[in-house]
């Protein structure tokens, strides 16, 4: 059996989640791995921007909080750390990890970086096919910041087989973070598609961290989660045949049952018969989940088909600017005053001919379910008295967006009675569009940092 745990499921996850996971794997005494998945669709573009400003930046900002509490225990207990926390700058992340190791008196920790996902300057992205889910998005007009392919598990496995104790990647397919250590440990044949599918499934269920163990799950009275301030991140106990039990460390909060596993099994899945990854096409349609103990769910039935011919690559562009501004109305007739504020801002934008896209939500009526045109808001029939917050959003060039936001601030004196609590924020946006890139244009490798070649 091989144990793989999750230490983080997104950039910004709880920084103290990894310790109980490492302690549990270490206590079993058989080594294992812990994975960190910290890249979202736009993270790489933000990392590239940070790297341009500072060549030592561009990796996961929380790296220096994630790793120090666990590095020593991982090294001493043969627990390989695998993370895409390298983001846009895996070499700088590796340097940072080596510095942490040195600071903790751990000389000679072997840190490998996986490279090849960064396609800037290597691929003419306009000559490639756009991913069908983005086919209706308008053509981006800004400059390209980042182009990164989702690469597979092979360079991760090779780095571990070569002795890596920490593997730092940029963009990889999220489940590859787990498939890599599994292939390295069991020596699975890359052509055994059902095993590739099983390892990919384990990775899919682990890569969002607590989302499989009671995070993003609590619905009081319907789906209660014990001790949600102390959720135990998941650990997969994987057998050589690829079947596994999902569990978590004793003494932690959260829960793992068939409901938590089912929700995560289908999270961000489109066709369940064809979850495309660089390593395999995963077929989930025969997967079964069975509770076999408290916080223990056995997962079986993953099937694999040939991997797709192309790799998905996310292209990050400079987008337009986003301005947000909010103001509150409460007490008698607050709804009508809030609605009037929306009308006033619409009229002001028209009068000044500000070239912005805009949206207004009256929070407390209907907001996140609505569309930009306010269809649901127009139908809303609620209480006139209450506590409402009007939230405006504007998109466009920076000057127009700033002017629109300033109009919301001007509601203080010129708007409806009793408006208070204006907050405003203007920031640039990164846009992303996904393309499909031929594999022949992507070449991946691993190398050790801080060692003579």
């Amino acid at each position: 059996m091989y144990r793989i745990g999750s230490g983080a499921g997104f950039s910004g996850d709880r920084v103290d989640a990894a310790q109980p996971v490492v302690e549990a794997i270490a206590a079993a005494g058989e080594g294992g791995a812990i994975i960190f998945e910290t890249i979202g669709e736009r993270t790489l573009a933000l990392g590239q921007i940070a790297k341009r400003r500072n060549p030592k930046a561009g990796y996961e900002p929380l790296l220096e909080q994630f790793l120090p509490p666990i590095l020593k225990a991982c090294v001493e207990n043969r627990i390989v750390i695998v993370g895409n926390f390298g983001c846009a700058n895996p070499r700088a992340a590796a340097d940072a990890i080596l510095a942490i190791a040195e600071g903790q008196g751990l000389p000679g920790v072997r840190v490998a970086v996986v490279e090849g996902d960064d396609l800037v300057g290597r691929v003419d992205i306009d000559a490639t096919e756009r991913w069908e889910g983005d086919r209706h998005l308008p053509a981006p007009s800004g400059d390209v910041i980042a182009v990164n392919a989702y690469i597979g598990a092979r360079p991760i496995a090779e780095a571990i087989c070569a002795g890596a104790q920490v593997v730092v990647t940029g963009r990889v397919a999220d489940p590859a973070l787990a498939l890599g250590p599994l292939v390295a440990h069991f020596g699975w044949d890359w052509n055994d598609l059902d095993l590739m599918a099983a390892g990919t499934l384990a990775g899919h269920l682990l890569e969002c961290g607590s989302q499989v163990s009671g995070g993003f799950f609590a619905d009081p009275g319907y789906k209660d989660v014990p001790d949600p301030a102390n959720i135990g991140f998941p650990i997969a106990e994987v057998e050589a045949d690829g079947t596994f039990v999902l569990t978590k460390a004793d003494g932690t909060g959260g829960c793992i049952d068939t409901r938590t596993v089912k929700e995560q099994l289908l999270y961000e899945i489109h066709d369940p018969a064809a979850y495309l990854t660089p390593d395999v096409t995963l077929d989930l349609t025969e997967v079964e989940v069975v509770a076999v103990g408290r916080d223990r769910v056995r997962v079986t039935g993953a099937r694999g088909h040939a991997a797709p011919a192309t790799l998905k690559a996310t292209v990050g562009y400079y987008g337009d600017w986003l301005g947000e501004a909010e103001i509150s109305y409460a007490g008698p007739n607050a709804f009508q005053r809030a609605r009037l504020a929306v009308t006033i801002i619409r009229d002001r934008i028209a009068k000044r001919a500000l070239d912005v896209t805009s949206r207004a939500d009256v929070i407390g009526t209907t907001s996140v379910f609505d569309d930009d045109g306010g269809t649901l808001f127009a139908e809303f029939r609620g209480k006139n008295d209450g506590d409402y917050r009007v939230r405006f959003a504007f998109g466009g060039e920076v000057a127009a967006v700033e002017a629109a936001v300033q109009e919301v601030n001007a509601l203080y004196c010129c708007g409806p009675a009793g408006g208070g609590g204006v907050r405003q924020n203007v920031r640039p946006r990164v846009r992303t569009v996904s393309h499909l890139v031929p594999r022949s244009l992507v070449s991946v490798s691993h190398s050790f940092i801080g060692e003579a070649p």
């Binding site: 983005d134 009275g221 209660d224 409901r259 899945i269 079964e288 916080d295 379910f369 609505d370 992303t432």
Partner: protein
């Protein structure tokens, strides 16, 4: 014996989660109990989901059935006002939209009482019906 039609929110018989990729939303809908699975199959359709999202201008809804999980997976195209990097919505990911789906009214068949659907689970992990096991 017949009774009047009884309608409950989907939330009373199913749970689920939303995810995003670009401008494409997926929402899974999972039956709490085996007897609710036929209700999902019959009433939570591509057309009913498309109607829930009509104001968002969706262009396509595809439903996938997973009988081994007693779950449906909906893939909803162009539901996210451009997606996480373009949308002006507060919830650019569309993470809240699973609960728009779970607000869909469903009609209970005569053999299921409304009291059967009021899922209360203080110790979900110990309730076999809820998917856990009692091993204490």
């Amino acid at each position: 014996m017949t009774r009047n039609r009884i309608t409950v929110p989907l939330h009373a018989i199913a749970h689920g989660r939303a995810g995003d990729k670009g401008n494409r939303l997926n929402v899974n809908v999972i039956a709490y109990r085996p007897e609710f699975w036929p209700i999902l199959l019959e009433q939570v359709t591509e057309a009913s989901i498309a109607a829930l999202f009509a104001h968002r201008g969706v262009t396509r809804v595809v439903r996938y059935e997973l009988p081994k999980l007693q779950a449906l997976n909906f893939v909803i195209d162009d539901a996210l006002e451009g997606g996480v990097n373009s949308s002006l919505s507060l919830d650019t990911h569309g993470k809240t939209l699973s609960f728009l789906v779970l607000d869909l009214p469903v009609e209970l068949p005569p053999h299921i009482m409304p009291s059967d659907t009021a899922i209360r689970s203080d110790t979900p992990n110990l309730d076999p019906v809820m998917g856990g096991v009692d091993n204490e």
